[in-house]
Amino acid sequence: MSDTATTTQTLLEVHDVTIKFGGITALDGVSFDIREGEILGLIGPNGAGKTTCFNVMTGVYQPTSGQIRFAGTGLAKMKRHAITRLGIARTFQNIRLFKSMTALENVLVGADAHSRVGFFHALLRTPLQRREEAESRERAMELLKFMGLARRADELAVNLSYGDQRRLEIARAMATNPKLICLDEPAAGFNPAEKVVLMDLIKKVRDRGYTVLLIEHDMKLVMGVTDRIVVLEFGRKIAEGTPAEIRDNPAVIAAYLGVEEDDAS
């Protein structure tokens, strides 16, 4: 499936973002856009600043300078849970599920992000609360089914297999009903066959109307699934373009692919 999304509507705008931790500049004047409905790959060698970029987009870090706008709203000083409600969700490179909760409950926590009722409704079991709870459960089950985890719904997250845990992370992120979903190395630790399945899944996620930002090391996967790619190195953006353009970009080859070519004998 290679019909590139041609919507030009910008969903997220990273504008000249710099982050410094003490003397270290993790991101240095990085700018790029994510367009609605696309799968954007964010690649770069280890330590290039990919995850930092994720963290600044989800409000974990505040940029030292520059700004990020999501669907027209500036994210500066916004609380992390508010950013989630605005429509940015993410998964974690090192799986961070709620281990002692079931798969279904994990997804429900994400789905709760949009429930309006709270304490008093729960205590009085108002009709509104019952309805929202039922809707959340239905949505959560549907997402588990989508991820192929329906049978594991009542399993504790910690007891799921590695691959299922990775998929559950994606389901939980999708449950928050985001516009943009950021996947941080979702294929880490997967074998080639599992990666093919995952590539397919990522496309299906996009086809459901989500915009996807993908951090990934595996070049084949990134080239196969993304519409556009942004390449970081040492905190700077060194290239941006379609997979074909990136493949032929000399700077990228030098920085990233070149290493692989040397390795491949």
């Binding site: 989630t84 409600r85 993410r90 709760d112 504790l156 910690v158």
Partner: protein, 387 residues
């Protein structure tokens, strides 16, 4: 465990098992509740404390259970180690003391809700600045809070200083007002006496329904058990909703919970306020039952016993908290016959419990299920099964 909490908790867990419309379960639940209410009248051999008034013991058992259920919300659900819980207990007790006796003369049942609200406000006031620190730091700050409350009371004229507040009125008796030698109330309920078997109904020993006097602790027990059952119901409704999930997620991984859209600070504050309110409720009951409170009644040691109740019972499980509170309140009374040795026996009993059931008497589902899964994996390992 063939001591008191086992049957009590078993009955309770039947109630909590689920409110579906199966009549058998409802019948069991009703019977369980009836048993809990009838417990002080039944004089069950071995269970009944030989050396102290069983009604009074049951009152403190229920009071500790109530406290443990409240503290379980803070420690077990939200994962916040609160070592100053006695501060809330004291706040509830003193609010009642001040409102019903020391400065005003409100009726108890008017002062009770005010005590709960005041304690909840105290919880928010402590929580708002301190819930930003985590883990051990929170434990230290809360411990300081417990001591601050006690020291402030000791040094405040308005609160009676170290002399305390005496003659706190009891709740009003419903029915005939009590006279000397006449307990009043609506009607008398005879106790059961097994020594005169088979003629077990002891008409010479009656508890008068809804008659609150110093002579009989059983009506107080009924009052606090009612409060406990209501709190347990509310606890269940909250736990099985997004509130409970938000607490659990926050305890598991606060950062991730926040990124998944949970306003963690607000939920931690809610847990703190609710826990505080329940502690205040228990303190208010304590004040009206004891009729006398003083700062020394609210020592740091109590905080430790409250935390012990939650841990012994199984943090995160409301029935565990009930059982833990019951054990911690009951054992020292049961062993009163050992006189100066009783605290030693109590300590040994706690150590035995900790060794025998490290996750608590009734561990929460998460621990049980994780253990079951572990056992299953061990079983499968023989087949080298691999997922």
């Amino acid at each position: 465990m063939n001591l008191v909490p086992a049957p009590v908790a078993a009955t309770f867990s039947r109630i909590g098992a689920r409110f579906d419309n199966r009549p058998a379960k409802i019948t069991l639940a009703v019977l369980g509740v009836l048993f809990v209410y009838a417990l002080p009248l039944l004089n069950i051999p071995l269970l009944t404390t030989p050396d102290s008034d069983f009604g009074g013991v049951l009152f403190s058992v229920a009071a500790y259970a109530l406290i443990a259920v409240g503290l379980n919300i803070v420690i077990g659900y939200a994962g916040l180690l609160d070592l100053g819980y006695v501060g809330f207990y004291a706040t509830g007790a003193y609010t009642v003391g001040v409102l019903t006796q020391y400065h005003w003369h409100w009726p108890f049942f008017l002062a009770l809700p005010v005590a709960i609200v005041v304690t909840m406000i105290a919880g928010v006031m402590l929580g708002a600045p301190t819930l930003r620190v985590r883990g051990d730091y929170l434990a230290i700050v809360t411990m300081g809070f417990g001591e601050i409350i006690r020291l402030v009371i000791t040094n405040t004229e308005w609160l009676g200083k170290s002399g305390g507040i005496a003659k706190i009125p009891m709740p009003p008796t419903i029915g005939t007002p009590p006279q000397p030698g006449e307990p009043g109330g609506l009607f008398g309920i005879p106790h059961i006496s097994w020594s005169t078997f088979p003629n077990v109904v002891d008409v010479g020993h009656e508890t008068h329904f809804l008659s609150f006097t110093v002579l009989d602790a059983i009506p107080f027990y009924w009052l606090i058990v009612t409060a406990l059952l209501l709190v347990l119901l509310g606890d269940k409704l909250l736990k099985d909703s997004r509130v409970g999930r938000a607490w659990e997620a926050t305890r598991e991984d606060e950062d991730v919970a926040e990124i998944m859209g949970v306003p963690t600070f607000r939920y931690k504050l809610l847990a703190f306020a609710l826990g505080a309110g329940i502690g205040g409720l228990s303190g208010a009951m304590f004040a009206t039952r004891q009729t006398f409170i003083q700062p020394a009644s609210f020592a740091l040691l109590l905080s430790m016993l409250f935390v012990a109740s939650v841990i012994v019972g199984g943090a995160g499980n409301r029935w565990g908290a009930v059982a833990g509170g019951a054990v911690v309140a009951y054992l020292p009374e049961r062993f009163r016959g050992f006189t100066e040795w009783r605290m030693l026996v109590f300590g040994i009993a706690l150590i035995v419990l900790a060794t025998w059931r490290p996750e608590g008497l009734f561990p929460p589902r998460r621990t049980r299920r994780a253990k079951a899964a572990e056992a299953e994996i061990e079983e499968l390992e023989g087949d080298a099964a691999n997922v």
